[in-house]
Amino acid sequence: METRFKTLREFPLDEYLSPGATMCAGCGGMIVLRIFHKALGGNVVIVNAAGCLTLLQVYPYTPLKSSWMYTAFASAPAGAQGIRDALDILMEKGKLPQGEDLKVVVLTGDGAAYDIGLQSSSGAIERGLDFYYLVYDNEAYGNTGFQRSGATPFGSSTTTTPPTNLNPAGYSGMKKDLFEIWRSHNPPYLATIAPSHVVDMLRKIETASGFRGPKLFISLSPCPTGWGFDPSETIKLSRLAVECGVWPLKEAVYGKVRHTVVPKVLKPVEEYLRRQNRYAHLFTPTRQEEAINFIQEKVNEYWLKVSATEGHEVIKPINLAEKQTE
C-alpha cells in the first residue's frame, strides 16, 4: 500500500493534546496517545476504561481537543458500541447529519484490555464494531501503583509479585498473548506498535483506516514510574524492547501476520532488562541466570518461528548462541 509516511518529515503537525496533563513526566503511554491522535485527526471520541490515562481528565481540566467518554473498568468497548451504534442509527434515521460523525476510539491500559475488559473487547470485535482500540501496555496496573496484570511478563517484579528469597525471579507466569487472542477473532486489522517507532506506527494507523470494523493496536508503553528508569529513557527503552526482540512489531490483516520491523541481529535481552528496576532482582544481589536465560530463550524461539514462517533472517544474540555451541 502507498503510504503518506516515509520519514519524520511527514509527521502530522496538528496537535490534539494540550500540555498540562497530570501523567508522570516521560510517560510512554502519552507519547503513543499523542501520535495516535495526530494520525486519526480531530473528529474523534475516545472511550476510556479505568487506567492511568483516565486521569487525563480531572475536572475541570482536559488536555484533549476531541471528545472523551470515561465508562468503567470492564466495558470501554461496550461504551464504544453504544456511541457508534447511536451515531449510525441517528444518521440512518436522518436525525443526525453525516458531517457530525465521529471516529470511535477505545483507549485502555493493559489491565482493562488483558484482564477485566477482555470479555467486552471480545464481544465488540466479534460483532465487527467499527472502531479503533489502542492499548497502552505498561505491563501492570500502573494507576494503582504497579500490581501484576495479565500483561506482566515473566521475571518482572510488581507490588503483588515482589521478588523475595522464596521467589527470587519475580513474577513466574507468562505474559498473555493478547495479539493472538484478538487475532483469533479475525479482525480486519491488528498491530503492535511502539512509541520509538513512529513511522511504523503512522503507517499502521494509515493502513488500518482503510478498513471498516475493529482496528486494534497494542502499544508498548514504557512506564518510568512503574518500571523504574529515568524518564528521559522512555524512547530508549522502547527502542531496546524492539531491538532485543522482546516487543515484536507486527500487523495482521484479516489474521495474516507480517512483521514490520525485523531486527537483523537480536540484541541480548539483558540490555533491555538491566535498565529497569523491575528486573533489578535478576542481577543483584545474585544473578538469576536461569530466569534471564529463560527470557532470552523465549525471545529466540519466537524469532526462529518468525524466520521460518516469514522467511526473515534473524540472527540470535551472540552470547546465547555461543553458549549453545559450547
Binding site: K65, Y70, A78, G79, Q81, G99, Q119
Partner: protein, 409 residues
C-alpha cells in the same frame, strides 16, 4: 392491530418501546425478561420498527452501551432482570452520573442464592440509591403507560436522569390481559423527540465522565442529581396530567384504593396489589373500613403524598416483597421515615414481609394482615412479620427430608 389487545407485560413493554420510537436497544437475555428483546428483535427485522438492537456480551456491557448511546443522542430502551441488573450494577450509578436519560425495564426476579425464577423486589430496590427513577407496575397496562411516562420525565431538561420501570416476573411478564395502545399522533403529542444538549458530535467536543478530585466537587454533582430527581416528582405529575388528557388513563405516584375513609390501610407495590385490593373489597363488604395505597413511584420517594395518604389512619401495614437482611422491609423503613415528623401519624405501623421468590400471597393472607391491624398487640412493634403458611412449612419439611436433611423445624 386493535387499539386494545391481549398482551403480556413483556409484550406491553416492547410495545411501549415501539411506540416511543426508540433508536437503540442494547440487549442481553435473562429469564423472565427475554421475551421483550425477542419481540423487539422480531419487529426490527420485519421492518415494522426502525431501531438498532444489538446483543451485548453481558448486562454490564449492555448498560454501558445504553448509557453512552443516550449521550450520543439516541433514545435508548433496554431491559433485564435480577442477576442481570446486579451484574451491571455499577453502571446504574454511572448512567445516572452521566445524566443519560433512558428507560430500563426490570422484570423482577428474586436474587440468587438460592437461584430461582420468580419475583421479588430485592433486585430492583437494590438500585434505589443509584439516581435512576423507579416506577412500579401493577398491571400490564401500567407497564406500557409507565414506560412512556418514564421517557417523558427522564428526558425533561429539568430532570435528565434515567428510569427503571418495574414489573413482576410471571405475574405480569407472562400474564396476558387487555392493554390499550396509543396511536402515533397521541404518542407524538405526549412525547417530544429526544435530544441531549451536550451530545457527542463532530463540531463541538465534550469530555464526559471526568474524574473529580475533592469531595466538594463530588458532593456538588451528587446533590445536583438528588435535586433533579426530587424535582422529577413534579414533572411526573405534569406528565400524568397530559397523559390523562390524551388517553383518559390516570397515573399517580401513589394510588389510593377505597382509601378516603379507610382506617386500616395496606401500603403495597407491584402485582400483588391486585389480590390485596380484593381483600380490601371483601373487608369493606363486611363493614371493615379497609383501604390500600399502592406506591407506583419509588424514586423519587413520594414522602409527602404518602404522609397525606396515611396520616390520621388508625393502623397501617407495609407489605414488602423484599428483605433487607438484618433489618426487614425496605419500603416499611422508608414509610416510617416519611411519617416520623407527622403529628397525627397512625399509631400502628406494621411491617409485613411476603412474596419472596414469588411465594404466592393469598387473599386470606392479606385479610389476615388487616385483621392484625385491628389487633396490633399480636405482633411485636417494629419487627417484620413473615407471612408463611402452615402448608408451606410442611412442604419445606418434606423437601428437606428428601434432600437428606434431618430434623424438624
Amino acid at each position: 392491530m386493535r387499539d386494545v389487545e391481549m398482551m403480556t407485560g413483556n409484550t406491553a413493554a416492547a410495545w411501549a418501546a415501539r411506540l416511543a420510537d426508540v433508536d437503540y436497544i442494547p440487549a442481553y437475555p435473562i429469564t423472565p425478561q427475554t421475551e421483550i428483546i425477542e419481540t423487539l428483535a422480531k419487529w426490527i427485522n420485519e421492518g415494522v420498527m426502525k431501531a438498532k438492537l444489538v446483543q451485548l456480551e453481558s448486562e454490564h456491557s449492555m448498560l454501558t452501551a445504553a448509557g453512552t448511546a443516550s449521550l450520543a443522542g439516541a433514545r435508548v430502551f433496554t431491559s433485564t432482570s435480577s442477576q442481570g441488573l446486579l451484574y451491571g450494577f455499577e453502571m446504574l450509578y454511572n448512567i445516572a452520573g452521566w445524566r443519560a436519560p433512558m428507560v430500563l425495564v426490570n422484570v423482577s426476579r428474586a436474587v440468587a442464592a438460592p437461584i430461582t425464577l420468580e419475583p421479588d423486589h430485592n433486585d430492583v430496590l437494590s438500585a434505589r440509591d443509584s439516581g435512576f427513577m423507579q416506577f412500579h407496575a401493577e398491571r400490564c397496562q401500567d407497564v406500557l403507560d409507565l414506560v412512556l411516562m418514564a421517557y417523558r420525565v427522564s428526558e425533561d431538561r429539568r430532570v435528565m436522569l434515567p428510569s427503571i420501570v418495574n414489573m413482576d416476573g410471571f405475574y405480569l411478564s407472562f400474564t396476558r390481559e387487555p392493554v390499550g395502545l396509543l396511536d402515533k399522533e397521541e404518542v407524538a403529542e405526549f412525547l417530544p423527540p429526544y435530544s441531549h444538549p451536550q451530545a457527542f458530535k463532530a463540531r463541538r467536543h465534550v469530555v464526559k465522565g471526568p474524574a473529580v478530585i475533592g469531595g466538594h466537587l463530588y458532593t456538588f454533582f451528587k446533590h445536583n442529581i438528588h435535586e433533579s430527581i426530587t424535582r422529577a416528582a413534579q414533572v411526573f405529575d405534569e406528565a400524568a396530567e397530559k397523559f390523562q388528557s390524551i388517553t383518559g388513563r390516570k397515573l399517580e405516584a401513589v394510588e389510593g384504593f377505597l382509601l378516603d375513609d379507610a382506617e386500616y390501610v395496606l401500603v403495597i407495590t407491584n402485582s400483588f396489589t391486585t389480590t390485596a385490593k380484593r381483600a380490601v373489597v371483601k373487608l369493606r363488604e363486611k363493614g371493615v373500613p379497609a383501604g390500600l395505597a399502592k406506591v407506583v413511584m419509588l424514586r423519587p420517594f413520594p414522602a409527602k403524598i404518602i404522609v397525606e395518604k396515611l396520616k390520621n389512619r388508625k393502623a397501617v401495614a407495609v407489605f414488602d416483597q423484599n428483605i433487607s437482611q438484618g433489618f426487614g422491609g425496605i419500603i416499611y423503613s422508608e414509610t416510617a421515615a416519611a411519617l416520623y415528623h407527622v403529628k397525627n401519624r397512625p399509631e400502628t405501623l406494621l411491617s409485613v414481609v411476603g412474596g419472596l421468590g414469588g411465594k404466592f400471597t393469598t387473599l386470606e393472607e392479606f385479610e389476615y394482615v388487616f385483621s392484625l391491624l385491628a389487633n396490633p398487640d399480636k405482633v411485636g412493634a417494629g419487627k417484620p412479620l413473615f407471612l408463611f403458611r402452615k402448608d408451606e412449612l410442611r412442604d419445606v419439611e418434606r423437601a428437606m427430608k428428601l434432600a437428606g436433611v434431618e430434623g424438624e423445624m
